[in-house]
């Protein structure tokens, strides 16, 4: 005997999620069945997110209002754009309070292994912004992985012909870390990214 059709429809749907295979989908589906209150809670939040949250038409971040609060704020430095891979990176930088410019969220990185080329990312909209708005500096803040570097290289090429300063965030020793305990590549990168001490 097969499981009821609507149950199979649920497990099939759950498998559309990244990183969820058949086994975990079945486990999740049984969980929802046996914990209906939590199932209800999850159902409501998905519904709310889908109806109320969208992508900012300017920067690509997730937002309830479009344009997002950052893009529409009069207090931000509108001449600097920080380019990140995903919305969570924006929130991390905002939590730290170390940046007062605008953002641009790529929605991923260039990665043929994941079927992603430049056209699958918000790159055209970035180039358009740099052409249209009065931007002085683009800070590329993708991760220091192969894909993050590849994306940074691509952006550098695309932005080269624009009259804009292109920078890459520095990588180095985490604060509070003894040099003794930093791994070798962190040290290597910190050395490469060294700068003069000014007074």
């Amino acid at each position: 005997m097969n499981p009821p059709k609507i149950f199979v429809r649920l497990t099939d749907a759950l498998q559309l999620l990244p990183g969820i295979g058949k086994k975990s989908a079945e486990r999740a589906a049984f969980y929802l069945l046996s914990n209906p209150q939590n199932g209800e809670k999850i159902f409501r939040s998905i519904e709310a997110v889908l109806s109320e949250i969208s992508f900012c038409s300017k920067c690509g971040n997730i937002t309830v209002l479009d344009p997002c609060p950052i893009c529409s704020s009069p207090r931000r430095d509108r001449a600097t754009i920080c380019v990140v891979e995903k919305p969570m990176d924006v929130f991390a930088i905002e939590r730290a309070g170390v940046f007062n410019g605008l953002y641009h969220v790529l929605g991923g990185l260039i990665s043929p292994l994941d079927n992603k080329g430049p056209k699958d990312l918000n790159i055209d909209s970035l180039i358009a912004r740099v052409g249209k708005e009065k931007i002085n500096e683009v800070i590329i803040a993708t991760n220091p992985t192969t894909e993050g570097e590849a994306t940074a290289l691509y952006l550098r090429e695309q932005l080269k012909s624009h009259n804009v300063r292109i920078t890459r965030i520095a990588q180095g020793i985490p604060v509070g870390t003894d040099l003794d305990f930093a791994d070798d590549v962190t040290l290597l990168r910190a050395m490469e990214g060294r700068r003069e001490i000014k007074d």
Partner: protein, 354 residues
């Protein structure tokens, strides 16, 4: 630095070991199949977090078990590796975020019967020989290899997609990264081969009286790899993978001007692998300023008396040497600590001679 004590749980045929070692020469004796190689394999594993006999860590689990723990104490350093599904490395009790951050903390060079594959095996086997040799004294090299490898897979995936009609774009960024990561890899390999040449050739001559030549075979046009990748793009699309680069490097050995792989005798090949390992041990001593622990697994029994004599002289330079062999008569002048492994009701028991 030398291995002072070893603690083992569920590794190969050992359920549990607690064993002390001494500096100098340690002889591990026992009949075939009792676990001599398994014991020295642990010491090697504590250095490189891999075996010299298998690529699959599951082979190392005591039959039917789901985890093993090995740990070694070396003066004021303790290295511990725990395996169950995943490998975790602890140096002095602190877990390393990634395995490679602890790689080679204790340098070990192992002379094993499997070393013959360095001569007889595929280019991949020789690249592995170089890569582990280099990583033991230059850890960022491991990171470069992994970055290169990732960029290589990305470009191959790009080539394959074009082959099936989907043009993703931005292939240049992978080519730029391939050549960027290739250059420190190539530089390190050239240096390593040059040092192998310096040390292995005279050693080989003293063992065999024959002339050895070693050459590094480049896997691409290293005067401009980026340009080569660009030019070859169309041909590589047909093949579906990146042809040129350090992933194709090789080393070639010549004995008296004949290629060793196809022409040399078994004894000559053995002398060659012994010379290569000896050279790696010296390179480690030179670059790190500390001597590796030396493991000799069985190969000594394959050599004739005269070569055993030369090898033993070379070995006396090292602070600690572990020799696993079934041959009691292998002892040469000087002191040995002797460990005997015996099979008691199907389980190995290790005893130290007084």
């Amino acid at each position: 630095m030398y291995l002072k004590s070893l603690y083992v749980k569920n590794f190969r045929n050992f359920r549990a070991i607690e064993l002390d070692f001494e500096p100098g020469r340690n002889l591990i004796l026992g009949d075939n199949g009792v676990g001599k190689t398994n014991l020295v394999e642990i010491v090697y594993f504590l250095s490189t977090f891999g075996s010299f006999r298998t690529y699959d860590d599951r082979d190392l689990l005591h039959f039917g078990e789901s985890f093993f723990v090995v740990s070694g104490e070396y003066g004021d350093v303790e290295v511990k590796v725990r395996y169950s599904d995943e490998k975790e490395v602890f140096i002095n009790g602190v877990k390393k975020r990634r395995l490679r951050d602890g790689f080679g903390t204790i340098p070990v060079i192992a002379f094993t019967s499997g070393d013959l594959d360095i001569v007889n095996g595929s280019p991949a086997r020789r690249r592995r020989f170089m890569d582990i040799g280099i990583s033991l004294y230059r850890r960022p090299y491991i990171e470069m290899l992994s970055l290169y490898n990732r960029a290589w897979r990305q470009r191959n995936s790009w080539l394959n997609q074009v082959k099936t009609g989907r043009e993703l774009g931005a292939v240049e960024v992978w080519e730029e990264q391939l050549s960027r990561y290739a250059s420190p890899i190539i530089k390190a390999r050239v240096e390593h081969v040059n040092k192998l040449i310096d040390y292995a050739i005279p050693l080989f001559y003293s063992l065999t009286g024959q002339e050895l030549k070693i050459s590094y075979k480049e896997g691409g046009d290293y005067s401009n790899l980026g340009e080569q990748l660009r030019k070859m793009r169309d041909r590589e699309i047909e093949r579906g993978y990146t042809l040129y680069g350090p992933h194709r490097d090789d080393i070639v050995f010549w004995v008296d001007n004949h290629p060793a792989k196809t022409v040399a005798s078994f004894g000559t090949k053995r002398a060659l692998t012994v010379s290569l390992r000896m050279a790696q041990a010296r390179i480690l001593t030179e670059v790190r300023g500390e001597e590796p622990i030396i493991i000799l697994d069985e190969i000594i029994g394959e050599l004739d008396k005269e070569r055993i004599g030369s090898l033993s002289k070379l070995m006396s330079e090292y602070e600690q040497v572990l020799i696993a062999t079934a041959r009691e008569d292998i002892r040469w002048g000087g002191n040995f600590n002797v460990y005997r492994i015996e099979n008691k009701n199907g389980a190995p028991v290790i005893k130290k001679d007084n």
